[in-house]
Symmetry: C2
Subunit: 359 residues, 2 copies
């Protein structure tokens, strides 16, 4: 179970070849690779190369179209609906985010709801696309139902993340990227691999009792919305996850709630879909649609500086700004390499063998 370090370029080249082998046009393969690897670089290991063979299995099951016609099917000056044509979310999402950014250039803001897509990697990649345009970026997506609403024993929501990226001047940007659950599924996967118990408040069993068994979801259990229990506000996490679901899928015409198709190819999508594929939602707000961008960014520097220099509790040397840990991780991993655990290495080696690519 030791992790081995791989240079970023080696992993990039492998993923690029795999995406090309399964039929992605060159530009799409490069885009998908960039999005996927950004998760590994930023330390969100569950959403990076560890998922590559999962995407390929979905393609084998004919649930992913690697040559999609991603297109705007409806629009107003500040909104659009994008049909992902069953493409890789890794490709559909940045294309839809680009539409949001173009809308914002004209109308001040742009808002794009996407249907007929698949898993889009980390939300933060897409929201951060807005930063270079002096815009605030937003990205969210629904996902396979693993989460039980407060008081429910049924899994009706995904971990439905929200990302918001906000530019600053001298300071690095503010980048929040959070699952609307107490713990992201990736954290559970780490516990499963290490055979460790989960803290209480992350998981419930099939009857809705709190559980520390990280394998509980295989036995009808569920992840718990941010808040852990009703007394600590799990109904708020449930509301936030619901908003993500509705913006991503009910606005666009994708599947929502328990109808969202599972990411894993060995589970069939529901036989009675209420829409097409999974849904995403993107937003871009031009800073200077509110006030001069420089003025705003200087105030963001003040905001970030004040929070970063707050007095800390004992044992912690600083208050973090959202995005700090991921940015620092990216720097380390670009220089030192990306650690992959032996199961992921094995999985990628098998994948390479199947598609005749050296890992």
């Amino acid at each position: 179970m030791t992790d081995v370090l791989f240079p970023y370029e080696q992993l990039r080249s492998f993923a690029l070849t795999i995406f090309t082998k399964i039929g992605c046009p060159a530009d799409d393969a490069a885009l998908a690779t960039d999005v996927l690897l950004s998760a590994d670089l930023r330390g969100i290991d569950s959403h990076g190369l560890a998922r590559l063979s999962g995407y390929v299995r979905l393609w084998e099951a004919k649930r992913i179209n690697t040559n999609p016609d991603v297109r705007v099917i409806y629009e107003t000056p500040s909104t659009a609906v994008v049909d992902g044509d069953a493409g890789l979310g890794l490709v559909v999402a940045p294309k839809a985010m680009k539409v949001a950014i173009e809308k914002a250039k004209q109308a001040g803001t742009g808002w794009v709801s996407v249907k007929n897509s698949n898993h889009f990697g980390i939300a933060g990649y897409h929201s951060m696309m807005a930063l270079q345009h002096d815009m605030i970026g937003m990205a969210m997506t629904n996902a396979s139902p693993l989460v039980a609403p407060t008081f429910s024993t049924e899994r009706l929501l995904g971990t439905n993340p929200i990302s918001v990226a906000i530019p600053a001047q001298q300071q690095p940007p503010f980048v929040a990227d959070l699952a609307t659950t107490t713990a992201a599924n990736g954290k559970l996967e780490i516990l499963q691999r290490k055979n460790k118990l989960a803290p209480t408040g992350w998981i419930q069993d099939k009857s809705g009792n709190t559980s520390t068994n990280p394998h509980e979801l295989k036995d009808g259990g569920a992840l718990i919305p941010l808040g852990s229990d009703y007394e600590h506000g799990s109904h708020k996490g449930y509301a936030l996850g619901s908003i993500v679901d509705i913006f991503s899928a009910v606005l666009s015409g994708a599947n929502y709630g328990p109808w969202v198709p599972p990411f894993v190819a060995f589970l069939q999508p529901p036989a009675d879909p209420v829409g097409q594929g999974i849904g995403h939602f993107f937003g871009a707000m031009r800073i200077d649609a509110f006030r001069p961008a420089n003025e705003f960014k200087l105030h963001m520097d003040t905001w970030i500086g004040r929070f970063r220099s707050a007095k800390t509790v004992e044992g912690k040397d600083r208050v973090l700004i959202p995005g700090d840990p991921e940015r620092e991780m990216e720097k380390v991993r670009l220089a030192a390499g990306i650690p992959l655990n032996s199961k992921v290495v094995e999985d990628l080696t098998d994948l390479g063998r199947k598609l005749d690519v050296n890992f």
Copy 2:
């Protein structure tokens, strides 16, 4: 400490007279009353009549302008910045939300950031204004710093609520209205009045240790962001509260973070303001800027119906949809009256005496 029931009309008439006495024009007084009383009707007692004398004290301290010129000072097709002219938030907020709705009619969506305002009552009032236009409504605001970011012992954020209102067809609307803290300040006030301990995870003491003392904030303690502690995602609640602060105040030019002026008149605003007053942020998205409104609302009926009929944990007879408890409370209180506890009754009686109005 017994609660006495008062008819809605009596309380409405009292508040209307008070707002008129302190100089609000007739329309503004009616609007402020409507917003304030909506909190009492919906069961958010901390934000209703219990706050009336607080608003009056701020007016006495010349921190509220009861005859403000609320105006758009900057705009693009889908955005605006509104200067509240130091008016009552209860008046400024619905006027700004109206601007968002008008923008949405033209551009598909409307987004309004507000500076130079004051406490705006419940966020849900403003977001729900969008519903009658077949729009999704959003409202958020920053507030006096009572919340410590994860790992901080300093209070840098308010309870910074987010409200999102989404229309349905046959089903009542989905209305989320949540403080981005584990517990809203109002819940703490209830424990203070009843001399009860708080659950762990709501409050920390001045050193950042968890505390169950509901009076801890008077001794340098702080409310904790949604999530309760780092292991359960308090950094997510901190990020959400930060986003509310930035959208409300850094975009508009209001005060943010620890510079937000306190709601209570006996505390002076910071001597080194970074903006004007407190800030709000409003959004309106026309449903048919994405898909036909009827189609969307029928799917919302399906969404709500599915969640409402989910299997429940033992001891709970149903899964709630955000907005259910408040809507049911409103029905009860409109019919049976609004309960006020003796401290609030005493406070309102004193207020009436001061301004020569019978309570």
